[in-house]
Symmetry: C2
Subunit: 101 residues, 2 copies
DNA sequence: TCAACATATCGATATATTTCGATATATAAT
DNA sequence: ATTATATATCGAAATATATCGATATGTTGA
């Protein structure tokens, strides 16, 4: 699992994606509760992220997918909802790479 | 001095620029000595970086300029040579920002 | 002053990213 | 079955980035 620092840096080259990543750090603070789920254990649903970011649904879906492919977030599907939460392991690995840069 | 995390991430979104930054960490290891200057106290001249990276002179100049504008490196001019060295302060600030992400 | 050299800037083209609306897919509710 | 809802994918246009060769600028040395 060698981290691709360039790929992760591309994710972080966009303010909306940086915002999403930091919002997901503390969902209670940044998002309304999920109606169907009483918690944020698996992260936040795409629609909440879309509303908060103010971007189109397709753009958000695309951003989340690239963040997922870079290993920064992980999806969980419950019925028709997809929840995304941070993948702290990759984030920590990126921190360590940056510490060596 | 609020660090622009997006701007710095853009710099790091390219392998050649990441390489340059890491090479500059240990010039003795990565570059031949300067003919006119017996040291790397002010960093490494553009032409050495160009040779090592294998990119055109204009591309290297452009990269170094964007790295400079992001605050990651600092130039020193001696005669016709420009030497670039790392700006550890900004690099450290970026590390700290990433630690909070 | 002039030629040679190091670097910066300009202009151009190819590729990548951003962002959207439209459409497809999957699930849930009626 | 049909409709409504959530998300994903597709196709496209606008903008940005990558990268080069050519040219300009500044400096040194003959």
């Amino acid at each position: 699992m060698d981290l691709d620092i360039v790929e992760i840096s591309k994710v972080l080259s966009n303010q909306a994606r940086v915002d999403i990543l930091t919002w997901l750090k503390d969902p209670e603070k940044h998002f309304p509760p999920h109606r169907e789920l009483g918690h944020f254990n698996d992260g936040v649903c795409v629609d909440h992220i879309r509303r908060k970011a103010g971007l189109s649904q397709s753009t958000i879906s695309h951003y989340l997918n690239m963040m997922y492919k870079a290993g920064l977030i992980a999806p969980t599907r419950y019925g028709k909802w997809t929840y995304f939460k941070r993948n702290e392991e990759t984030i920590q690995q990126y921190r360590e790479e940056i510490n060596n840069i």
